[in-house]
């Protein structure tokens, strides 16, 4: 029996389909045309220039910087944030006094506004007046106290990735906790009877059964970091000396600062392809490790 007929089906679908196509998908898909033009972004018209944008992208040092930073962010965040959050999830999954409160505190930065977070950390890092210089100074670590973390091309991207980890560790932790709750306690009991110790239980039971949660978390944070714009824009705007440029900041600048949106669009096409490739391969690879309970 059909609940909807064609007319009601279209009626229900229309508002979402129209808005989504006009104001989200349409603009992005039209980039497949504009990426091959000298578009100035003043009107919808542009001249076809073939592959010129793409040729220029590949010889553009900023493209290499953006690729490098995307890679740094993705790798650091996956390794550090996920290691810490799995560890915290396992610890805070137990029934302990104050555990609900601890989880809530660790999760809290995830709901804060990026501008607020950017300001807090700009101040934390800021030379002379900031928290870290004064903190290291009070410990007598003058070498660390004199580093301008966000102002040096060799440290800025790492300082920013620390902020991203600070904000989202609690979020990954909660996703891992949801995963832990799906593991039946029978498995742990029978492992105890067989004489397994805590370490064996973690590596032979917990970790393998957490693979679905690891997949979700990895996909979320990799996609999020590949699309990174806000944290960098608020803290460094891509500087110093372009050392923290990522695709998001470059595309924004080509669109609104230097009036080369056609060129920026070519980069956006490459980024979209990269994101899809990476997402599919993460799901493929981690899917192979998945085990059934």
């Amino acid at each position: 029996m059909r609940i909807l007929n064609l007319k009601t089906f279209l009626l229900f679908l229309a508002p979402a389909l129209l808005l989504y196509s006009l104001f989200y998908a349409g603009p992005i898909i039209s980039g497949l045309y504009y990426g091959f033009t000298d578009w100035k972004g003043i009107s919808f018209s542009a001249n076809w220039i073939g592959l010129d944008n793409f040729k220029n992208v590949f010889s553009d040092p900023l493209f290499a910087t953006a690729l490098r930073n995307m890679f740094i962010l993705a790798v650091i965040v996956i390794v550090v944030q996920h290691a810490i959050s799995i560890f915290l999830a396992v610890l805070l999954d137990q029934k302990l006094r104050g555990v609900v409160w601890m989880r809530a505190v660790i999760f809290y930065p995830a709901i804060l506004n990026t501008v607020v977070i950017g300001y807090i950390w700009s101040y934390m890092y800021s030379p002379f007046v900031g928290f870290l210089p004064k903190f290291f100074e009070s410990l007598g670590l003058d070498a660390l106290a004199n580093i301008d973390w966000l102002g040096r091309p060799d440290t800025a991207i790492y300082a920013i990735s620390f902020v991203i980890i600070w904000q989202y560790t609690g979020y990954s932790m909660m996703i891992y906790m949801a995963g832990l709750q799906g593991i039946s306690s029978d498995i742990y009991e029978s492992a105890s009877i067989d004489g397994a110790n805590a370490r064996q239980k973690f590596f032979k039971i917990t970790l393998p059964l957490l693979v679905p949660a690891i997949t979700v978390n990895t996909v979320l944070s990799v996609i999020g970091n590949m699309k990174q714009f806000e944290h960098i824009w608020v803290m460094t705007q891509g500087g110093p000396a372009n050392s923290t440029q990522v695709f998001g900041t470059l595309i924004y600048q080509f669109a609104f600062k230097t009036s080369q949106p056609g060129y920026g669009t070519a980069m956006a096409i490459l980024l979209s392809i990269l994101i899809m490739l990476v997402t599919v391969s993460i799901i493929r690879v981690l899917g192979r490790w998945e085990v059934k309970q």
Partner: protein, 271 residues
């Protein structure tokens, strides 16, 4: 065993400190004398509460708060309506290639939204919606409906067909079945969607940065960003403004913390 336990709680304590110290610094610096030297390591000697009313006035925070609420209200209600309807259509649309539409909508969770910014910008300009809260809301609805559609679709699959079929045999029209039988069941998914949509809209940075350029139309995050460009050296006042911007969501979090965490995590896990 005991040593292992103590060291693991040591690590938890360090993590808690790393989270809390910057928040403490935010609070304490916001109360310091805005013309004196700053000491982020201790509580101020005298509390300069006057930084707060000054920040509200200088930062025009009341206006920006109202703007943020307006955008949130429009974009939340419109996203809910669009996605619940679309989710239902996709659930019952096998005969008309619903799975194609479904994959098309899912692209919205993967593709970078900034890839189509200039096109959307020109489109809003053509429609005279640039610098309007309606225009920004429309952009948020279009860019944020993928996950809600997915969540509603997944939920509708769990509703037994028999319920709808029984109503149909009793002579209910499709619209009445949807409205009176199905919608009342969606409360749990709807609450997840409300949390996700509301937090994304409230914290949206890129949208208002691009589509709202007139000072009067700014939302809180962008208003706060311009606060810094005007008063860059004044950390206490900037931090008072930041604390105020963080306040509404923080208060909400204190009262319905479980609900918010469940909403955000549920949205991610099912998505």
């Amino acid at each position: 065993m005991r040593a292992a336990k103590i060291s693991s709680y040591g690590i938890v304590a360090v993590c808690l400190a790393v989270i809390l110290v910057p928040l403490f610094v935010l609070a304490t610096v916001s109360l310091q004398n805005s013309s004196g030297t700053l000491n982020p390591l201790a509580l101020p000697e005298t509390y300069h509460w006057s930084n707060y009313p000054k920040a509200i006035e200088v930062g025009r925070l009341v206006l920006y708060f109202t703007n943020s609420v307006t955008v949130l209200a429009v974009s939340l209600s419109a996203t809910l309506v669009c996605s619940i309807l679309a989710g239902y259509a996709l659930r019952h649309g096998r005969a008309w290639k619903a799975d194609w539409y479904f994959s098309y909508f899912l692209l919205g969770m993967i593709l970078p939204g900034f890839a189509g910014t200039i096109q959307s910008f020109l489109l809003l300009r053509e429609l005279s919606l640039l610098n309007t809260h309606l225009g920004l809301s429309i952009i948020q609805v279009a860019g944020g409906m993928a996950l809600p559609i997915f969540l509603y679709f997944q939920f509708f699959k769990t509703v037994p067909l028999e319920i709808e079929e029984a109503a149909m045999i009793d002579g209910c029209s499709p619209i009445r079945i949807f409205w009176q039988v199905v919608v009342p069941l969606t409360l749990p998914v709807t609450s997840t969607c409300i949390i996700v949509i509301a937090i994304n809209s409230w914290n949206d940075f890129f949208g208002p940065l691009v589509y709202l350029s007139s000072p009067d139309s700014r939302t809180l995050p962008i208003g706060l960003m311009f606060f810094k460009t005007q008063y860059s050296a004044n950390w206490p006042q900037l931090f008072a403004a930041s604390a105020l911007v963080a306040m509404p969501i923080t208060l909400l979090y204190m009262f319905v913390q479980r609900f918010i965490i469940k909403g955000l995590v549920g949205g991610a896990v099912k998505g």
